[in-house]
């Protein structure tokens, strides 16, 4: 597959920590991942799994004082993100890769009209455009995301949550980036509005050919929009594959199985949910061996000592000792 489609983003053995005087948080641990042109990769996990940290690492927007990439490399096409200077990175952000943040209520500037906030992207990255051309492009983008261009003089507080998220998406797409990082773009929205925004994002992606990493904890959203899925737990990808691999068959990481078991099912009646016992491990003090072993119903002796490698079955990777045999093939 990788030989046919072009690789857009490649992450190799990435380690990210947050270091303060008191403690060190191991947020991302030895993570490798690729995103190909035109595809949507779903990044699924619970709070503290390291999803947002991963996105911030790609944008190189980790908190300056505490966040640090310890090892590993991120390549965005030919650009070595991890080795680039801040000035070079600034040129890349928005132009090549942009990010949609979770909360549309706080990610817009309250004292500037939304049209201006979209134009800012173009002013920074497309310096060859004239003023009139920028205005024209702003109108175009607003129409694209379903907001009437008459409203470009309005301020964020004059819009509802769903509309604000459309504005945020418009800003992110203004320069037609190759890669869009969407960090829980619909979590703060109501279901009917979420459906509108998801439908719009899917359409835009098809029209513009943008690749996307969709960060979410909602497996329903993943089923509707993603081509491939990566399940994260305690800073690692425990399972990754095509969306069909994840939602079908029984070759799964126990965490993935447990995650599916804990969602109330609309189509089946169950008496009780299958909750995952225990809590997410403390990221300052991760367990030895497999990070999931203290909560795992199928934990074996080896799981407590040795971290499992990724077992690959035709591009469907599972990081679990249960499937260690497959890894040797």
């Amino acid at each position: 597959m990788s030989s046919v489609t072009e690789r857009l983003l490649e992450i190799q053995n990435l380690d990210v920590i947050y270091k303060t005087d008191e403690e060190t948080v191991y947020a991302v641990n030895d993570l490798s991942l690729s995103v190909y042109k035109g595809e949507t990769l779903g990044l699924v996990g619970e709070t503290g799994a390291g999803k947002t940290t991963l996105a911030l690492s790609i944008m190189k927007l980790l908190p300056e004082r505490t966040g640090r990439i310890l090892k590993g490399a991120i390549h965005l096409q030919e650009f070595p993100v991890t080795a680039m200077s801040e000035a070079d990175m600034r040129a890349l952000r928005g132009e090549m890769v942009s990010m949609i943040f979770q909360d549309p209520m706080t990610s817009l500037n309250p004292i500037h009209p939304i049209g201006m906030q979209i134009a800012e992207m173009l002013l920074l990255h497309k310096k060859q455009l004239s003023k009139a051309q920028i205005e024209e492009r702003v109108d175009q983008i607003l129409t694209l995301v379903g907001i009437s261009p008459d409203r470009k003089g309005d301020f964020p507080h004059q819009f509802s949550g769903g509309m604000k998220q459309r504005v945020v998406i418009a800003i992110a797409l203004a320069c037609e980036p190759q890669l869009l990082l969407a960090d829980e773009p619909t979590t703060a929205l109501d279901v009917t509005i979420q459906a509108q925004v998801l439908q719009m994002m899917k359409r835009l992606k098809d029209d513009l050919g943008t690749s996307m990493i969709l960060i979410t904890h909602d497996l329903g959203v993943v089923a509707r929009t993603c081509d491939r899925v990566a399940i994260m737990y305690a800073g690692e990808i425990v399972e990754m594959g095509r969306v069909e691999d994840l939602f079908q068959g029984d070759y799964h990481h126990p965490y993935t199985t447990a995650l599916f078991g804990s969602i109330p099912n609309l189509t089946k009646k169950t008496k009780r949910l299958q909750a995952i016992e225990g809590l997410m491990p403390d990221p300052t003090n991760l367990p030895a061996g497999c990070k999931f072993h203290p909560r795992c119903p199928r934990c074996m002796e080896i799981c407590q000592k040795e971290a499992p490698g990724a077992a690959d079955r035709k591009g469907h990777q599972v990081r679990c000792h249960l499937y260690a045999e497959a890894a040797k093939d």
């Binding site: 509802s160 009917t192 993943v222 969306v243």
Partner: protein
């Protein structure tokens, strides 16, 4: 049928705003039988939380009645209210905001007991707190910890323990799991269902998450802009949603299965209109794909069919379904 434990009659709550009255709850009639769970669903701003709080008289209703075992509590005096409050409690949405950060776990759980003086002996209270902690699955060693030392799931367990402290009959659960991760959400939902079984609790479960509400409720009421647009037994509602808003809401849930992947979503357009001085007619008419002329003229009334399925929509009014 027995007297429902909770019943509201034409319950109304308007908030005054500079632009006019905000119709948060507008003539809601509901009833919940003992030991059952009523799920209240709707989008943000539809008045679900206000309804829950008005039923507990944490917010004074503008008009209408709230009956607890057939007795109107809206007219109760302050002293009478304290007795009533022992029987009805609430679990709040955000376990990070709803408990006092300066109190220890035991102080938080014991507070309702001290306020209502159901127990006065200190040792007795302590023993009771430990028992409650065990009931909700909190380890006894956490008794002197402060909330900031605990994660969201444990904090919500404190919220549940506090609500149980006075041994109530009825608990309003205002989005108790929406701030939690799915694996923790499942733990809390299981706990609440276990408690309902062992203590015969009655729940009013407010949420925007339809999969959660389907899992936990016996009956469901769908709210839109302060009004009940549809109410039915859970299975009936999911099998046969009648109101166009309910249909749109069910359609919009992303289902974690690939079967629905290529199906075109029927997305309703537009957004919730303003609840301030709403225009006459069905509140949903502006977004409704099936709106007719009369929908914009007068309010459709809630009509109940033989199976106990009520809907407020003109699509089902003609021929009129026999009311109760």
């Amino acid at each position: 049928m027995d007297t429902p434990i909770i019943q509201t009659k034409e319950l109304v709550k308007y908030f005054k705003t500079p632009k006019g009255d905000l119709h948060a709850v507008d003539g809601v009639n509901l009833s919940i039988q003992r030991g059952q769970t009523l799920g209240v669903v709707g989008e943000s701003g539809c008045g679900k939380s206000t309804l829950g709080r008005t039923i507990l008289r944490l917010i004074e209703p503008t008009a209408g009645q709230v009956l607890l075992d057939g007795k109107d509590i809206v007219t109760c005096s302050r002293a009478e209210m304290q007795e009533v409050r022992k029987r009805m409690q609430i679990i709040f949405q955000d376990p990070y905001a709803s408990i006092n950060p300066r109190m220890t776990v035991s102080e938080i759980i014991a507070e309702p007991i001290q306020v209502c003086r159901t127990m006065t002996n200190k040792d007795e209270i302590n023993a009771y707190v430990v028992e409650l902690m065990r009931t909700v699955g909190l380890a006894e060693r956490l008794i002197n910890t402060y909330p900031h030392e605990l994660d969201g799931g444990r904090r919500q367990r404190i919220g549940v323990a506090r609500a149980l402290a006075l041994n109530p009959d009825f608990i309003v659960c205002d989005e108790p799991v929406s701030a939690l991760d799915v694996s923790i959400q499942a733990q809390i939902l299981n706990l609440m269902m276990d408690l309902q079984e062992s203590r015969g609790l009655t729940y009013m479960f407010i949420t925007h998450d339809l999969s959660v509400v389907k899992h936990i409720s016996d009956h469901i009421m769908v709210m839109y802009l302060g009004q009940c647009v549809e109410s039915a037994a859970t299975d009936e509602l999911f099998r046969n949603p009648k109101h166009p808003y309910t249909q749109a809401l069910l359609e919009a849930i992303p289902i974690p299965s690939l079967e629905y992947r290529d199906k075109e979503m029927q997305v309703i357009r537009g957004e919730v209109t303003s609840p301030v001085n709403p225009k006459p007619g069905c509140r949903f008419a502006a977004r409704c794909p099936k709106a007719m002329a009369q929908c914009r003229e007068s309010d459709p009334l809630l009509k109940e069919d033989a199976a106990g399925h009520s809907v407020a929509c003109y699509l089902y009014a003609d021929p009129p379904i026999c009311g109760s």
